[in-house]
Subunit: 459 residues, 2 copies
């Protein structure tokens, strides 16, 4: 086994720059799922993946009846070995605000040991480590050592609206013993991690409609409810100064953190001064009574994600706009249900409607929070693989983000464990400008993935 | 005199469609003062006006050292007659939101008895009535019957930042006995008006700066103060549910309405149900304890005029933006000072800064409120001219909007009276999409202006 490990490791090292070049090709495709003008790019990205998998003799199909093309490959020659389902997504977030990118978001640039591009870490770069691990395993030992299924969707960034239906329709086809997902980050630059918890999400859009046309604020100021004033009043009432969410019933189903978990988090505690400096803020902010790590991974939050209305241009325009709007999302924790929160939030927001305007609330997407059991043998195997791939034992963490499909995997397919193995650094900047992925992590990820598959083949 | 009146009236009627065509030419020039890309259009609009005045033998100069070109014409042959200063502006508001215009804002369209275009009523159409009145007077009696100065600026919509300096530099040149300004509206479609009060304005821009880059709301939600959340919390604290402004000291200098004035306003009271229907809202809104007419003309207000931050596109993006901003304006009433209010508002806004963000406040423009004395003989002449031109006696009103230059005229040049004679309908939609100006009002305005100048020539 020592030889095999060395062979894998040196094959990764030898081929690293070719792998990076291939990743750059992948990153050049602007597969932004949220924008309809990128529909053709979604097709290109999915075909590119099919070609990649085809070269590994993995039988691959593209499903087009489930929103953006869904790529599914299968290599299951062994009757006596477990089946591993690899999940990832090829779609990326919109590139706004594009003016803040130092190099163009879809023209990958390598500098300071990282590759900069939209999707570099979320999730093209991380997904690609698994494809290259399969290639390395084939190249070094002539075969992939375990049954592998690979499912790559193009709608993760818009809430996977069609994947659940695909999983229902092809429940048997995608059945597996273990799921691996790399779409997150390590605990810190130095410390890899296994994620055992994800927050859920309830994402809403609010529209406030006032007068049927824009009005001059001199002529009408004082007699109409300004939709912008109404909007900020409503939004401000959703949280209080202690960082608590004031939607009635919001905390009803929140499972309190166990003392052992709070102790574990205490040990991992964020270096708050470093985080502050990284973010360039004077102080952190959040719910009273919880540590920063607890707040960002194990407590629910409410953030306004976008707002608009009236005049946004240069200079002064004295207008009362006829409408205003905002996007708003809440991160949820076990056992909150996004459907219940959608309803509680919508009802509360509507109840805050002042006279003179109308308020509409739309659900843009939602997903429930997840907790993965930590006491399974595959967890042990993953710990060892990471230790070899990254040179350090991983810690167990909960992540603040959401991966909607994990809920479907866990509830619908009943697959356990789901190994959430993020290779990114916490400051890779997914969703923001200058998103990047460290080449060291790319390399560590490929190695770990290969070690893990090799070892699962023996179990 | 009866003959002269009839001659003026029939000359206006005969030439009306030519006058309208000329106005269309004027309206086609997109002279948006707030946007630097329209600099050339400002030059075109000012030259167009010089040509118009030149044809009337009015000696006209364009001043280019005072921001956008300033047009000044003078015709003062009489030693024994009063001098009338006509003021107007050729600049217009930005055309946003352009998608709500039924016909393009700079391609005038005549329908349902009105001319639709940006600037139709504010102020190109109204200003043009004075130029055409001068033309009609020359055509009917061979001479302009009174000394006339005409001052047309291109920066009214951005707060006339340079006009005051021009007036200081050319104080003597522009001195006059009476000022006439048509840049407002009648009391209602049926009732013309003389405006004796204008509100002031304090216009601010707020910027809230948080983390130095956009963040993923899953990864960072719960530990950073979101600039959008901070912004709405600050803005919501500037007013209360009773429509009162909560900035400390804001009402300190407000002169209470006199009982006689409240009685007069009571008689003019807005038909609230009609206004509601026109605006398409369920109910009006405003400060408790005051009638709608009082609130829109004689009480101060606070309106958010624009807001931005985060993701405004299609779909969902889970971002905590690094910054957010808003534009905000307060209408002021006698004896509030915009400088004092700027300071009180800025201080209060900054005092509301929550931990974790920085808040910046910038003054975009400001002007003080004005009251014009009502007991002067020129007021009597104006009443008569309006009665002839519009067929109905005017009422005295206060207007909710602001005309910054009026403050300079009244304080610096010490000219009284300032006759504020608005020809628009209250629902012309200045500053909004589908701005328009009724042809009847255009005609009535030209006639009234001619009658007024004719009569002032006899005084």
């Amino acid at each position: 086994m020592v030889d095999m490990e060395e062979m894998i490791s040196s094959a990764v090292d030898r081929n690293l720059y070719r792998f990076l070049e291939e990743l750059c090709d992948f990153l050049r495709i602007p597969s932004v799922s949220a924008r309809s003008e990128h529909r053709e790019d979604m097709v290109r990205a999915s075909s590119w993946l099919r070609d990649q998998l085809g070269r590994l003799n993995i039988e691959t199909q593209i499903y087009t009846d489930y929103g953006h093309p869904l790529v599914y490959g299968s290599y299951c020659p062994y009757a006596d070995k477990p089946t591993i389902l690899i999940y990832g997504h090829y779609d990326v977030q919109p590139e706004d605000p594009v003016e803040l990118w130092e190099t163009p978001p879809f023209d990958p640039s390598i500098r300071d040991g990282s590759i900069y591009a939209r999707g570099a870490t979320d999730d093209k770069g991380q997904l690609f480590t698994w494809i290259k691990a399969l290639e390395v395993l084939r190249a070094t030992s002539g075969r992939i050592p375990v049954n592998v299924k690979i499912l790559i969707e193009g709608e993760e960034e818009i809430g996977s609206p069609n994947l659940h239906r695909f999983l229902v329709d092809y429940k048997k086809r995608v059945s597996a013993n273990v799921i691996v997902i790399s779409d997150g980050s390590k605990y810190s630059r130095d410390t890899p991690a296994i994620t055992y918890g994800l927050r859920g999400l309830s994402y809403l859009e609010i529209e406030v409609i006032g007068p049927q046309r824009d009005l001059h604020s001199g002529v009408y100021g004082g007699i109409v409810k300004n939709p912008l004033n109404a909007l900020v009043e409503i939004l401000a009432k959703l949280t209080d100064e202690k960082g608590q969410i004031t939607i009635p019933g919001f905390y009803e189903d929140v499972v309190p953190l166990e003392p052992w978990e709070r102790e574990e988090m205490e040990k991992l505690a964020l270096k708050e001064d470093e985080v502050r400096d990284q973010l360039g803020v004077d102080s952190l902010f959040g719910e009273e009574g919880f540590s920063a790590l607890e707040r960002k991974t194990a407590r629910p939050t409410l953030d306004i994600n976008g707002i608009w209305g009236g005049y946004q241009g240069e200079g002064a325009k004295t207008v009362i706009p006829s409408k205003a709007g905002a996007k708003l999302s809440m991160r949820l924790v076990p056992n909150q249900s996004h459907q219940k929160i959608d309803r509680l939030a919508s009802d509360f927001i509507k109840s805050l409607t002042p006279p003179g305007v109308k308020v509409y609330v739309k659900q843009l997407h939602g997903t429930d929070p997840v907790i993965v059991p930590r006491n399974l043998k595959e967890m042990e195997i993953a710990i060892k693989a990471i230790k070899k791939g990254f040179g350090k034992e991983p810690v167990f963490i909960r992540e603040g983000g959401s991966i909607p499909v994990v809920v479907s995997f866990s509830r619908l397919l009943n697959i356990q464990p789901i190994l959430l193995l993020g290779w990114g650094n916490p400051d890779d900047g997914p969703h923001g400008p200058n998103e990047h992925f460290s080449i060291e992590n790319f390399k560590g990820g490929i190695k770990t993935a290969a070690f893990l598959l090799e070892e699962l083949g023996k179990s």
